[in-house]
């Protein structure tokens, strides 16, 4: 079975936020709420500083606490690709998933249900990349099957050093950042 994930090259990312705007346009997210965002991490001691820019979103974790804690099964792992999805009609808006996510990737939509990045499921099902990946002007974002040894994402992970966000939280994120 496919295991869909994302590989993002932090060396190429310039933090232009095209991915954020593309997501907002594609998914019509409400005002003030975003499914993806940019982080700028500065480390070191002046003048020897390093800057890491990352485009972040729901990590579609392999051990997703939001799915485990959902009392109605609205949060679930999709049959294909292992993506974490939400069935709006089953969500009661209890917010347990918001409290369980170490990445604060979820928010409550004004219509009452929990919402987050879907990896643009509607596009992926048609064989297209998620909107954020499709518009990236530096081509720093890659999407594909992590279990396929011939996929671009697998090859990148096999050849480059990479990390995930907060692996110590035990969620096994499926978004990887190349260093």
């Amino acid at each position: 079975m496919a295991r869909l994930g994302m590989v993002i090259d932090t060396v190429r990312c310039v933090g232009c936020m095209d991915c954020v705007v593309a997501c907002k346009t594609e998914n019509q997210t409400p005002e003030g709420m975003n499914r993806d965002w940019i982080t700028y991490a500065t480390r070191g001691r002046y003048p020897d500083l390093s800057l890491t820019i990352q485009s972040e979103r729901c990590n579609h974790c392999d051990n997703p606490p939001c799915v485990h804690c959902c009392p109605t099964g609205a949060s679930h792992v999709h049959d294909w690709g292992g993506m974490v999805q939400i069935t709006r009609e089953e969500c009661i808006g209890c917010k347990a998933c918001l409290a369980s996510c170490p990445y604060d990737a979820r928010y409550i939509h004004p219509d009452g249900y929990a919402d987050k990045c879907t990896f643009c499921l509607h596009r992926v099902e048609k064989g297209e990349d998620p909107a954020c990946v499709a518009v990236c002007p530096t081509h720093c974002m890659h999407f594909g099957d992590l279990d396929d040894p011939h996929s671009e994402v697998r090859k990148l992970l096999d050849s480059r050093r990479h990390h995930t966000v907060m692996p110590e939280a035990g969620t096994r994120p499926q978004i990887f950042f190349l260093e």
């Binding site: 991490a41 604060d104 009452g112 249900y113």
Partner: protein
């Protein structure tokens, strides 16, 4: 230096992203109090105690406390309902059972709680019920006289009470993204807090002097246990990872230090423990002060744990 700037929505900037407000602590307190009442009254039923007064009272063997518990858990569920953002879909809780979700367990435990409470009420029916439906009196008398039924109801009340009390803590501890909550000891902590609040109320309201003495004594034991569990909770956090240590700092010099040590521990546990210890040795009279402090302390405990837990988080850098 390490500095992180994020363009994500943040609860610090956008208050609407704050996860849980007053509803959840109120629900957790009322659930814990109901659990405590069920255990105490269940124990009295199991021992075969009976209140021979013609009307319902607040003694452990009567139905007054069961009636109050019925009202309390219903109010708690109303608070829980008010917290839901997709209210019309609440019925979805009861068309599935998600074994990994403590909230799903809780929804079903609440369904078990109601018939047990109802049974506790019917074993000593209030006059308002028997006066309105006199046809039921012979049947209810037969039920009340059945010692086996009383003992079974007592056992069920203890079992569901313990499950309800522990669940209110496990609900939070299952949310590992908030290091302050990721401790299973929250289950026993909330159970003992519920027991102490229930014993405090029953001690205050019971019409029998010997029962009041007995309840004050066991309330002291519950409070001492609760104090020990609070300390174990903090020891567990401070001997764990950096994230858990940071979470413990919220109570050890951080934003919640004063309200936790003065409000929850000092006024809610230690002071009533001292007052009631003096009262049971007849050095000071029994007054409502200690029970009121215990009950408010139990409420404050839920508010502090729920609020502080939402601030605690895994560190990004």
């Amino acid at each position: 230096m390490s500095e992180l700037i994020s363009t994500a929505q943040s609860p610090w900037v956008d208050p609407h992203l704050h996860v849980w407000g007053w509803e959840i602590p109120v629900y957790l307190f009322l659930g814990g109090w109901t659990a405590g009442i069920m255990v105490l009254c269940g124990w009295a039923l199991w021992k075969g105690q009976r209140d021979e007064r013609p009307h319902a009272t607040f003694s452990l063997a009567s139905s007054g406390l069961f009636i109050l518990a019925f009202a309390a858990i219903s109010l708690g569920m109303l608070a829980l309902f008010l917290d839901l953002e997709h209210k019309l879909f609440v019925w979805r809780l009861y068309v599935t059972f998600e074994p990994a979700s403590p909230m799903s367990w809780g929804a079903w435990i609440l369904i078990l709680v109601y018939p047990v409470l109802l049974m506790g009420i019917l074993l000593d029916p209030p006059l308002t019920l028997t006066n309105r439906v006199p046809q039921l009196v012979p049947l209810l008398k037969k039920l009340a006289d059945n010692l086996t039924l009383r003992r079974i109801t007592g056992l069920l009340a203890i079992g569901t009470g313990v499950a309800l009390g522990i669940y209110t803590g496990i609900l939070l501890s299952a949310l590992g993204a908030r290091p302050l909550w990721s401790s299973a000891i929250l289950g026993p902590l909330f159970l003992f807090s519920g027991l102490s609040a229930a014993a405090a109320f029953a001690h205050w309201a019971s019409p029998d002097q010997p029962e009041r003495e007995y309840l004050a004594k066991i309330d002291n034991q519950f409070l001492a246990s609760e104090l020990a569990i609070v300390l174990l909770f903090l020891i567990g956090l401070t001997t764990s990872t950096e994230a858990h240590l940071q979470a413990a700092q919220l109570f050890l010099g951080g934003a919640y230090t004063a309200v936790f040590w003065v409000g929850v521990v000092g006024l809610g546990i230690v002071l009533p423990l001292i007052i009631q210890s003096l009262a049971v040795t007849h050095r000071v009279p029994h007054t409502p002060l200690a029970p009121v402090l215990v009950i408010l302390g139990g409420l404050a405990l839920r508010f502090v744990i729920v609020s502080a837990g939402q601030i605690s988080h895994w560190s990004r850098l």
